[in-house]
Symmetry: C2
Subunit: 664 residues, 2 copies
């Protein structure tokens, strides 16, 4: 018997080899195979079921999460999974949990900031999960500004210990994931004070709970900070609050990879350059960009499949209504997001390479690329996470009313994703960091210092400030070089204009404060250029498979031209293109949508997501949406009884009341 | 003892009479007094407590909602509240519940579509809530396209009854609020079939449940459709699913105000004009616009107050950090939303007037303004709800990490608000309706038919297509007429361009399909012009109170110029303004933000929201945020025990495991 597939016709229409595209999406055949195998492993395991998640109370959800984490760990050991496979497994379990922080922050920070001895002492325990750690940096009153943290670590030379203390309410550690209920240890960031002198913020390994009975150690107050956005979503995580009342730890629990405190209480900077810390930051942020392409592609997959199932209006002679994916309004909202998913995927892949490159350079004491790398990763983190958060909500709206149901998967995906705009650097703060780098680059243009890497185009700014876009017909916009020129010109002109305007202010800082919004917009232009240019580089690679490259070319054009349309004001006011050329781009965009249309379902199939991972009735691979929606509805706890709890107390008395006097 | 007020200094800085502004916001002194009194009534009643709402399981939340509804009804009767007061009370209880549909849809529809007899029979029961009704229109497979509904109502002349039936799974009624667990009756929209002929969709009053024991009547399958976006939020509502298996109702339960079926089964259109139905639509949509200004102002109030509490960076010499509201990036995101709240409030007020005007005209058989009124309400519904949904999420982000906590109130506000973008007309579908009206207007320009009302400016399109903006200095942008001219020119030019481009297609329908995105953008331009012009009309009114009018002028300029900046591409490419003038507008905007800054707290105080209604620790009137956040955290169910449920089963075994072999 053939399996039911309402999308079969859509799949037949595809003009490219979807199996080859799966490999392009995954990055390599090996990555594809691992991902495919682990995803199926998770999907077929009943412990990892998640379709009832949004109905669970906080306590039940949390217990369910602990169960999954324990089971995941058991499977990882049993199957002797590699680190890459283990991390994939946790990814596909798709439920935020303390192990994310243990593996993603606690261990990398000890690796990056601990000295050799510390690594040898702590890492083996952490790898075996004999201790569970979290990363306790932000405080109730202090988020973005790490230098403003209030927690203190005062050296007591008498006992050779640090005294960790929370001097104020606002110094309470607040937000760290895994802290509230699970972690036995925390990396605590605190102001180092020796001999009455404040040496700024450093990291300390602090045990929080007894390894025997899990009770908090003396002087430690710890708990969960309460419900967060959405049902299910991040409520599976015990983001925590933590206060210290003069808690003592041995001196060797300060992370001493970069700075040290001697037995005498002398503070010393190590000869290891401080810039090494940036390596960790690049690592974390490239991971965030990769996650953005996952979350975005997941939402797009759901919205695209359901847009092919859903029909509204346009029935002719009593025939079926039109599939909503055939409407231009739907295409012009959906297809740029589909294209963005691919664009973010490729720039993420490149960032991964950049991380290895910068690591190699740092090891060779070459710090020359650091400012550029830092600006580039900060900017990409900001732009891709903001775009993804907006896109998930847009995909939800593109599913009409049913996108509002938890069973569509989109509300929870949105709620669980949006913190990415805030954690690891608030997106606006990051853009301002990028713009500072841009202004510095512009100011050094005359100095003979040649901009490199993603900022190299600034070296040609004289040309870019004058060049004219040569588009005369709509199809001229299909040329990657034409697009690249326009994006380079826009980015360069916006930066140079900002730099000029800064000169109108009495001092640099006042100018930065007043022009912050313009500066942030210039940073966005720079980052979008990076994404566009990395997509072009991808197209220059050898891409096998029938029609695969052609599809990527179309998606590239959709991505670039839809950005151009969205930011038309930038392009036209800076004189990079004329209004007429803008209209031609728009015209070309419409034609491109028609080219995407027959391939849309296959393009989201290429993400190779299981129905388990998607977690969406609307996004089901087989398109059998309505019977399943109907089935899901009856599972709600409210449907356990026909007459609702509360009827006798609150409904019946209303219906049976004899109202004599009322003004209504 | 003086009450704690961290915002006292901010309040002292205000340059206008906030008490007078409260009256401007409320619309009149009387409206202010009612609103103020009822809000306090609700806030002081422990039954209406809602701070634990997001922690409740679905069943507990639903029961809590029933309890509140019963208590609200009790208070309404006891206090002999007027209809306006009763509706305010339900508004401030702030928890979606079946009575919203009973009062907001069931009763108005019987009033609007029932004949005199039907009104006399059903309304008294409904007013006394001896029956509870809902509005069952949308189906599992059919939302926006009402004409595509599948449920049938077949007339049986033998018994003088209609047989209501759900012929397919997709014909299941789906979404109606209050349907799932509570309503005893429903207004069911179904295809009327007499003598084998389909007469399209009509409304029928159908009893669903026994008034004795609340059990569904024979042939009725009814239940809740399951969890929706967010925790708390709309999950208090029993949105329902409903199937009919040949359910019989008497003939006189078809709503016969507009069409009738005779005893013989003959279908007849009444002499009452069909257009009357539009009156109800205008009523419902003007209410949605009013609700938008409430939701938006609520989010803005929270974000503004917390932006004055929160400090990040910029500490000088160890002093306190800078209030985030002082950053231009924060101002440029927040203040346009503050201005939008006022703009939407005023256009909503005007829509209320428009509704009474159109009602008066309809009663006098004057249908001349209907198309314009319809386009205008549809467009305003679309633009204000989309902007509000985006703004709530932006306000959440403006609160940094803490905006992600349920106790900030913003996640639930977002989740409960977003359906407004979909219900009562999908926002994109509505824009396309507006654009059809615009295209018709353009096509009739030569015919001598003079456009009236909000579209009157099209009568001057010849001038508008050629006029040049005369701004030379930034302050020229402060003149309302300069702004109005630019917005009129932009709207007219975009419509005329669309009309021209439509001619390039072989037929009108193909053109509409292909250019849908451009048409929707033209519609947005038209609607934004309406909002801008109604704000200007408001400024022409007599507005008492020290400095009040001045503040509104500033907010008007912020609203209009921030829109201009956002849509700069439209303004510049259509040649309405030059890039240089766009830059001047931006410059002026920055100065305006500085003028808003000292008044920001007072401007949100003017909304007069109680802490109960705001439901946000971050938005507290007294600004005492951090101690309260800390306090709230401990209320989470997870904090009932120090060692979490699940420790012995799932955490301890991990910590105590002896791992011999693992690849990690």
């Amino acid at each position: 018997m053939e399996a039911l597939d309402y999308h079969a016709e859509e799949r037949r229409k595809a003009e490219f080899d979807v199996e080859e595209m799966k490999i392009v999406w995954a990055g390599s055949r090996q990555a594809y195979e691992i991902s495919d195998r682990v995803a199926r492993l998770v999907a077929s395991d009943p412990v990892f079921r998640k379709d009832n998640r949004t109905m669970l109370s906080r306590k039940d959800l949390f217990k369910d999460t602990l169960r999954k984490a324990a089971h995941a760990w058991k499977r990882i050991i049993e199957l002797r999974l590699s680190e890459e496979e283990a991390s994939k497994l946790r990814f596909f379990v798709d439920q935020p949990v303390f192990t994310d922080l243990h593996w993603g922050m606690f261990i990398p920070a000890i690796k990056g900031q601990g000295n050799e001895e510390q690594q040898q002492k702590w890492l083996p325990m952490a790898y075996k999960m004999q201790i569970i750690g979290c990363y306790a940096q932000t405080e109730l009153g202090h988020g973005s500004n790490v230098q403003g943290l209030e927690t203190t670590a005062t050296f007591d030379p008498e006992t050779d210990e640090f005294v960790i203390h929370s001097p104020t309410l606002t110094s309470s550690k607040w937000w760290p994931g895994g802290l509230g209920k699970v972690s036995t240890h925390a990396l605590v960031y605190a102001r180092l004070i020796t001999d009455g002198q404040d040496h700024g913020v450093h990291g300390f390994i602090v045990q929080l709970r007894s390894l025997d009975d899990h009770l908090p150690l003396p002087g430690i107050t710890v708990g969960d900070i309460g419900m967060k956005f959405g049902s299910g979503a991040y409520n599976s995580m015990d983001n925590g609050v933590l206060r210290f009342d003069h808690v003592r730890i041995p001196r060797d629990q300060m992370l001493m990879g970069v700075s040290q405190v001697t037995r005498e209480g002398k503070f010393m900077q190590s000869d290891v350059p401080r810039q090494l810390v940036y390596g960790t930051m690049v690592y974390v942020r490239q991971k965030i960009v990769a996650d953005a392409s996952c979350a975005l592609s997941r939402a797009v997959c759901i919205a695209t499949r359901y847009s092919a199932v859903r029909r509204q209006f346009g029935s002719h002679n009593g025939g079926p209504e039109t599939q909503v994916i055939d409407y231009k309004t739907q295409q012009s909202r959906l297809f740029p997001l589909l294209a963005s998913a691919y664009a973010f995927r490729f720039v993420g892949e490149w960032l991964k390479w950049l991380y290895t490159d910068v690591t190699r350079r740092l090891e060779a004491n070459d710090f020359s690329t650091l400012p550029e790398v830092h600006a580039c990763t900060a900017g990409l983190k900001s732009v891709t996470t903001s775009a993804t958060a907006d896109a998930i909500e847009e995909c939800r709206k593109l599913c009409g009313g049913h996108g509002y149901l938890s069973s569509s998967g989109l509300p929870e995906l949105f709620a669980v994703y949006v913190p990415a705009c805030t954690y690891e650097g608030d997106n606006v703060v990051l853009l301002l960091q990028v713009s500072r780098f841009l202004m510095k680059t512009v100011s050094q243009l005359g100095s003979g210092k040649k901009p490199v890497g993603t900022i190299a185009y600034m070296g040609r700014s004289e040309h870019l400030l004058q060049c004219r876009c040569e588009v005369e017909r709509a199809e001229d916009w299909l040329k990657p070089n034409v697009i690249l020129d326009a994006f380079e010109a826009r980015a360069a002109r916006m930066s140079v204009t900002c730099a000029k305007n800064l000169n109108n202010f009495p001092n640099q800082e006042e100018g930065f404060a007043q022009l912050a919004t313009d500066l942030a917009e210039a940073a966005v232009a720079h980052v979008q250029l990076i994404i566009v240019s990395k997509f072009i580089e991808k197209l220059h690679q050898d891409i096998p498979g029938k029609g695969v490259k052609r599809q990527l070319e179309i998606l590239f054009n959709v991505y670039a031209l839809s950005l151009l349309h969205k930011h038309l004001g930038d392009f036209v006011t800076s004189g990079c293109i004329t209004p007429k050329q803008g209209a031609l781009a728009n015209e070309q965009l419409r034609l491109l949508y028609s080219q995407v249309r027959p391939n849309a379902i296959a393009l989201v199939d290429a993400f190779n997501y299981t129905d388990h991972y998607l977690g969406s009735v609307l996004g089901r691979y087989d398109g059998n949406v309505y019977p399943k929606l109907y089935e899901e509805a009856w599972k709600d706890p409210l449907n356990e009884t026909v007459v609702p709890d509360g009827y006798h107390d609150y409904i019946r008395p209303i219906l049976k009341q004899h109202i004599r006097v009322a003004r209504l």
